[in-house]
């Protein structure tokens, strides 16, 4: 049985990066990742049971939590309907502005599937399991994400990137 502390040492940075890809905000990512780790610690026995994949489990928790936080923000945004949302690129991501701008334009589900498919190197079936949606939905979100990325990045470049 793996000790939680070892898991934390190995996975904290990866989880933080994953959360950043979901939120595109450093502070939000840190809060999200910290909360995910708290929950993982509280349910550590369940997470590392038979045939369990703790890293995948915490990613699923992150996906669900990020989604609920995003819903909450949107609900409150409804209070100010005349204030239109404006996409901005955080200063931290100036290292790769093209990709950062492309990510900003993706919907939440599309960012999730891009991060899981290309960063976590999961199969489409594994993406579906971690996102808790059907394989068909994963394909649809991925196709839409591709279309958006291709519209922002050079389509040829995108093709090379995803191979």
């Amino acid at each position: 049985m793996m000790d939680f502390s070892d898991f934390f040492t190995n996975e904290a940075d990866q989880l933080l990066r994953f959360c950043w890809m979901l939120t595109l905000d450093n502070e939000e990512a840190a809060d999200l990742a910290q909360e995910v780790m708290h929950r993982a610690y509280a349910r550590w026995d369940d997470l590392q049971g038979a045939d369990q994949n703790p890293a995948g489990g915490v990613r699923t928790v992150a996906v669900n939590l990020s989604r609920s936080r995003w819903r909450r923000v949107r609900r409150f945004r409804a209070l100010m309907p005349r204030l239109a949302p404006a996409s901005t690129v955080s200063v931290e991501v100036a290292s790769d502005p093209d990709l950062a701008n492309a990510l900003v334009g993706l919907a939440m589900r599309q960012r999730q599937v891009i991060a899981l498919r290309y960063w976590a190197d999961l199969t489409l079936g594994e993406c579906a399991r971690e996102m808790g949606i059907s394989l068909g939905s994963v394909k649809q979100h991925l196709a839409r994400a591709h279309r958006h990325l291709a519209s922002v990045l050079d389509p040829t470049t995108l093709e090379e990137l995803v191979l």
Partner: protein
Amino acid sequence: MSDLGKRLDDLAGRATAGTTLLDPSRRAVTTERPLRRRSLVIAVAALVAVVASLAVWQGRDGSTTSVIAAEGDGDDTTVPLTFDSCDLEASLPVLRSGLPTYDYEPAGSYAALAEQSAVVVTGRVVSAVRTEVSGRSYTELTLTEVVELQDGFWSRTEVDVIAYDAVWANRSQPDPLASPIEFQDLTFVGFLSPWSGVRGGWAPGPEGLYVGCGDQPLEAVFNDAAGPDDPTNANRSAMSEALLAEEQALGGADENAADAAGQAADREAAQAAADAARVAAENARRIDQERIAALGIDAPATIAEARALWEATAISEYRLRYVELRAEGAMSGVTMRVDNGIVIDAVFVRGLDDGAVLAVDDLFDLAESADIVREISFDRTRGFPTVLSLDPDFDLPGDEFSIREITLDSKAELEAIDARITAWLPPAIDPPGGVEAFSGPQASNVSHVYLLHEEPELDAFAYLANDDVCVAVVLKGGDQGATEYSDESAGTCMPATDFDTRPLVLAITATSGPDYMIVVQSLDAFDHVWSAEAEAEAEAEADGGRLDVTTRSAFLIVTDEVPASLARVLLEIACPCGDATYLLPPG
């Protein structure tokens, strides 16, 4: 890992460089706690005292204590005092305890309130406690997960404590916030200004704090903070009452006459504006038609023709609505505002809220690039797609989708309808306090309502929200203390552009209280003289119902004296614009 994965990793790594997480297993806590939550610990004796005081203070029996739980760490001597679930009804009195009566100029809308505030934040309230700084008493809230609205976008902020004036002056009862109280999942929205005199440095304005649980509507913490001349303010001082009475005695008649004249002038001005807007919209449409006619396209048959037609209209600002259906059966309905081809605002109004948000040009792009166009049709005169069913990638199963019920209103059309509605509306009044229909997130920008009918047991209001026209019927006589209205209300809305030609109908057969039906006539009908009659079907007694008809609406109320459970009541409207019959079914 693909190159994209590597670039993502590099990007995320740089963005999060220097950020470290805390290992929960190394923290000195023995129970799961959300982030930044203060460990509030008090002695058991204090817990008992405060729980007891809450029960007394809320004027309830001992069952009130059920909302409070001691969640300890196994040590019998110390426990935090915590609401064991989000309970707005129990939390609000705590947050409102000791509030002074405010005298202020109401902002009038959330947008105006935001403009008056230095920051607008949202998050969760972790705990509340009464505190004293330099001899002045405050309620201090500790917050978490706080994000700030900046330029229309929520971002992280450092606001983690706010405070507002609150003095517990009732020396005969213990202060419910003498010791900290923790809340569970109590969300808030705060319109804040800097206040260096308190810890945290931020304070909400007198209208500036709202709290809620889950998806329930947010409620104002400062609900009694109405201005001195607000007739709904039950806390109005005796001095204000006397001044008001004096003013009415001195100049009431003249003022009433002046008001009536002013309202008539306002209505004439609004009608003139409506006429001007209608002419402008018709001119815009005529110019469009001339431009389109020059293209020689009559009812576009291909995507290329439709796109050329759409571009010829040169409509750059518009509202677009549609329903998206995806291959796996998911559905989402969205309403968006588009300016210069860019979506500037979008609200999901039906189904899931993760659907695609696509302007007309995006729809054309998708149709042009799809492997298979299964179905497509276009607006005959403006060319935009009205139905779209695509398979973007033939080799990719599951990416098929349809977009249906596509409707588009140009800015000129929206302005014309707004002007017509403004002319149609009766004089505006402030929303009555305590009525959920006017305070929830769905009606959050309701700064004015319009009284359509006033009856002894219930009133009917119109209001505008999110480009919709709405009607709400509110029952009176509830146990609300400060307001004559109960918390029972019903309502319905429709897009303002549909209200041009369709009536707004609400029919309620209630298990208790009167049954009722209101038909708010469309703007088209407002230009005609129309009449309404009500009748019950055979075997029902005709007594006990009332029908109030104005130029705008017909309001049918069926009291308990009528055996509505046995009868179908019909409301028949005769209008040169078209007769119609509406049915109030048996309850």
